[in-house]
C-alpha cells in the first residue's frame, strides 16, 4: 500500500509536465497575440509588456475574421437547432412508440454513423451542385445536419429509452396527441440530453474544416475555420496578427469549455457506453 501511495506523488510530476504541455501552446499563442511584431522577433517567450488589442482588431476587421465569425455563428446555430429538432423527434418515436418498421428505421439511422464524410464527399458535392445548394448556407447546413444526425438520433433514442413508458401512456389516456406528448413531455424531459448533444454538435460544426471547404468555395461565404487556414499564407510574416486570428477562433470554444465542460464530457461518455 505504501508503495502505491509513494508512487502517486511520483506520478504527479510527469502528469503536471504533461498538463503544462497541454495548455502552454494556447497560452503562448495568446501571449504572442498581445505583442508587437518587433517584440515577438526580439523575444518570443517573454510575457507581453502590455495587453494590446490592436492585433485582435486588425484580425477582426481587416483580415475579415469578424465576418467569418458571424457566418460560422449563423451556420452553427441553425444546424444545431435542426439537429436537435429532428434528433429528438426521431429519438422519441424510436424509443417510446411502437410501430411497424421502427427497428429497421433505427438500424438505417445507425448505419449513417459508419459513413464518414470523406467517403461520400465526391457524390455529395455532386448532389449539392445538381440541386444548386453548393456554395449556399442552406447547403452547408444540410450537410452538417446529415453528418451529425445519426449520432444525435442514436443518443436521443438511448436517452428517451430511460424514460418510463407509463408517462407517455398516462398523457395519451388524458387525451394528449402524440405531438402533444412530444412537445409538452418529451422535449422538457429531454433537456439534459439535448443540452449535451447540442453542445457537442455545436463544437463539431464550429470546428469543421473539410465540409466547409468542399461545400463553400467562395470567399464571402467562408466560415471561421476556413478563415484560420487562409491566415497562414497571408500573415506568415506577421505572427502577432496570425496568432490573433487563431485566438478569435479559439475563444468561443474556450468559453464553452470553461462553463460546460461537464456536459461535453458527459456527451462523449454517453456516446461510448451506450454503444
Amino acid at each position: 500500500m505504501s508503495r502505491l501511495r509513494l508512487g502517486r506523488w511520483l506520478i504527479a510530476i510527469p502528469m503536471s509536465l504533461l498538463a503544462l504541455a497541454t495548455i502552454y501552446p494556447l497560452l503562448f499563442t495568446a501571449n504572442v497575440a498581445m505583442k508587437t511584431r518587433r517584440d515577438y522577433i526580439l523575444d518570443r517567450f517573454g510575457l507581453t509588456d502590455a495587453l494590446r488589442w490592436e492585433n485582435i482588431s486588425t484580425a477582426w476587421n481587416s483580415v475579415g475574421m469578424g465576418r467569418y465569425f458571424i457566418n460560422s455563428l449563423f451556420v452553427v446555430t441553425v444546424s444545431v437547432f435542426l439537429l436537435l429538432l429532428f434528433g429528438s423527434m426521431a429519438g422519441f418515436a424510436l424509443s417510446q412508440l411502437r410501430f411497424r418498421g421502427s427497428s429497421a428505421l433505427f438500424l438505417g439511422c445507425l448505419a449513417g454513423l459508419f459513413i464518414p464524410f470523406q467517403v461520400i464527399m465526391v457524390p455529395l458535392a455532386r448532389i449539392m451542385a445538381d440541386t444548386a445548394l453548393i456554395d449556399t448556407y442552406p447547403g452547408l447546413i444540410l450537410v452538417y445536419v446529415a453528418q451529425f444526425l445519426p449520432f444525435t438520433v442514436f443518443l436521443m433514442t438511448s436517452y428517451y429509452k430511460g424514460i418510463p413508458p407509463e408517462i407517455v401512456d398516462a398523457a395519451r389516456i388524458d387525451g394528449s396527441t402524440v405531438y402533444g406528448v412530444y412537445r409538452r413531455i418529451m422535449l422538457p424531459l429531454g433537456t439534459p440530453a439535448l443540452l449535451s448533444v447540442g453542445i457537442l454538435n455545436a463544437l463539431f460544426c464550429w470546428n469543421d474544416v473539410l465540409m466547409a471547404l468542399v461545400m463553400m468555395p467562395s470567399a464571402e461565404h467562408r466560415t471561421l475555420m476556413i478563415g484560420v487556414t487562409s491566415l497562414r499564407g497571408q500573415y506568415s510574416d506577421n505572427i502577432p496578427t496570425f496568432a490573433s486570428g487563431v485566438l478569435i477562433a479559439a475563444i468561443p470554444v474556450l468559453l464553452v469549455y470553461l462553463f460546460l465542460q461537464r456536459q461535453i464530457a458527459d456527451g462523449v461518455a454517453a456516446g461510448s457506453t451506450k454503444g
Binding site: 500500500m1 502505491l4 502517486r8 504527479a12 502528469m15 503536471s16 504533461l18 497541454t22 495548455i23 501552446p25 518570443r44 517567450f45 429538432l85 429532428f86 434528433g87 423527434m89 426521431a90 412508440l97 438505417g108 439511422c109 449513417g112 459508419f114 459513413i115 464518414p116 470523406q118 467517403v119 461520400i120 464527399m121 465526391v122 457524390p123 458535392a125 455532386r126 448532389i127 444540410l142 445536419v145 446529415a146 445519426p150 407509463e166 401512456d169 389516456i173 396527441t177 470546428n207 469543421d208 474544416v209 473539410l210 471547404l213 468542399v214 475555420m225 484560420v228 487556414t229 497562414r232 486570428g245 487563431v246 477562433a249 470554444v253 469549455y257 465542460q261 461518455a269 461510448s272 457506453t273
Partner: protein, 326 residues
C-alpha cells in the same frame, strides 16, 4: 432494457383506466395497448412515421445513397470519359500513383502508432482513477485540446514548429541545431501524428474514465489489500475488466486517425514535403477539389471505406471473442 422491466407493473393501472370491462389476462392486454394507439385519428396513426421522417429522409438521401453513388462512380471515367464504365481502371491508376501509395503506407504507420495513442490516455486515466493528487485538475486540462478544431491546433503548432520558431530557439540555446520539423520528409509525418495525439488523447481519456466508472471497486481494493503493485493492478485487474472499453478506444482512435486529420494536414504540411504526409482523406480532397478527378477520388473513397469496414469488423470479431471468454 428499462422498458421491459417496468411494463408489467404499469399495465394493470392503465388498462383499468381505459375501461376494459372484462378482466383479461395480462398477456392479452399487452397486445391491446398498441392497437388502441393505432386505432386513433388518421393523423395520429401516422404520427410515428411523421416524427422519424425528417431524420430518415436526410440520412438516406445524404448518407446512404451517396455511398452507393460513390462506389458506382468509382468504376466510371473522368474528363472526356465522364460517365463511361472503365472497370477497375481507377483502382489500377490509384495503386500506380506514388502519392496514393504513400497515403496507404502512412495508414500503416498510423496502425503501428495506434498502441501508443491508446496506451497514453489509458495510463493517464488509470492514474486519475486511482486518485492521483490533483486528479480533477488533470482531467479538465487534458481534455481541453480535444475540443479545439484541428485547424486551430495546426495553426498553433505551425507557429511553434516553424523553422525560425520558438521550439528551434529553445533547442538552439542547448546547442542543438535547428530541425526543419515540418519540412523534412522523414520527420513531418511523425510531427503531424504527434500533434494529432496531443490534440485528441483527452477524448479517449474521457471514454476510459467512463469505462472505469463501471469497474468493480471491490476488485481493486482486494488487489491492494493483497499488496499488489501498480503494474500488477493494471495488468491483472484493470485491463481484463476494461476489455470492451479498450477495444472501443482502439477502434475510435483508429477511425479518428483515418478521418479527422485533414485539418492538421491542410494547415501544417498540405501533404508535403514531397508528398510525405499524404493520407487517404487528403488524397481524396486533392483529386476531387484540385485535380478535378472526381471518379479517381471516388475510388480512393471506396478504399478508405473498405479500410474502415475492416477496422469495424475486427472490433466485432474481438467483441465476440471476449464475449465467449466471459
Amino acid at each position: 432494457m428499462p422498458i421491459g422491466n417496468t411494463q408489467p407493473s404499469v399495465r394493470p393501472a392503465s388498462a383499468g383506466r381505459a375501461g376494459g370491462a372484462a378482466p383479461t389476462p395480462a398477456a392479452h392486454r399487452h397486445g391491446a395497448q398498441p392497437r388502441r394507439t393505432r386505432g386513433g385519428l388518421g393523423a395520429e396513426r401516422f404520427a410515428p412515421y411523421i416524427l422519424v421522417l425528417p431524420a430518415v429522409l436526410i440520412i438516406v438521401l445524404l448518407r446512404l445513397y451517396p455511398l452507393l453513388l460513390g462506389v458506382n462512380f468509382s468504376f466510371t471515367g473522368d474528363g472526356a470519359q465522364n460517365g463511361t464504365a472503365v472497370g477497375f481502371g481507377n483502382y489500377r491508376e490509384l495503386f500506380g500513383d506514388p502519392l496514393f501509395r504513400t497515403a496507404l503506407s502512412n495508414v500503416g504507420l498510423l496502425v503501428l502508432l495506434l498502441p501508443v495513442a491508446v496506451a497514453i490516455p489509458g495510463l493517464l486515466a488509470t492514474f486519475i482513477y486511482l486518485r492521483v493528487p490533483g486528479h480533477r485538475f488533470y482531467r479538465s486540462v487534458y481534455f481541453f485540446p480535444a475540443v479545439l478544431s484541428p485547424v486551430i491546433v495546426g495553426a498553433i503548432f505551425n507557429l511553434l514548429l516553424a523553422f525560425d520558431g520558438p521550439l528551434n530557439a529553445v533547442l538552439g540555446s542547448f546547442g542543438v541545431g535547428p530541425v526543419d520539423w515540418l519540412g523534412d520528409p522523414d520527420i513531418a509525418m511523425f510531427m503531424v501524428v504527434g500533434v494529432h495525439i496531443w490534440a485528441t488523447f483527452g477524448m479517449a481519456l474521457v471514454v476510459f474514465l467512463a469505462g472505469f466508472a463501471t469497474l468493480d471497486a471491490a476488485l481493486l481494493d482486494a488487489a491492494r489489500v493483497d499488496g499488489a503493485s501498480l503494474r500488477q493492478v493494471v495488468w491483472h485487474v484493470i485491463i481484463p475488466s476494461l476489455a470492451r472499453t479498450i477495444q472501443f478506444v482502439f477502434v475510435t482512435t483508429m477511425i479518428g486517425m483515418l478521418t479527422s486529420m485533414f485539418g492538421l494536414l491542410f494547415v501544417m504540411t498540405s501533404g508535403g514535403p514531397e508528398g510525405s504526409t499524404y493520407l487517404p482523406e487528403y488524397y481524396i480532397w486533392i483529386q476531387q477539389g484540385q485535380m478535378n478527378r472526381p471518379a479517381l477520388a471516388s475510388a480512393a473513397s471506396t478504399i478508405l471505406f473498405v479500410i474502415m469496414l475492416v477496422v469495424g469488423l475486427l472490433q466485432i470479431k474481438l467483441l465476440e471473442r471476449s464475449g465467449k471468454e466471459d
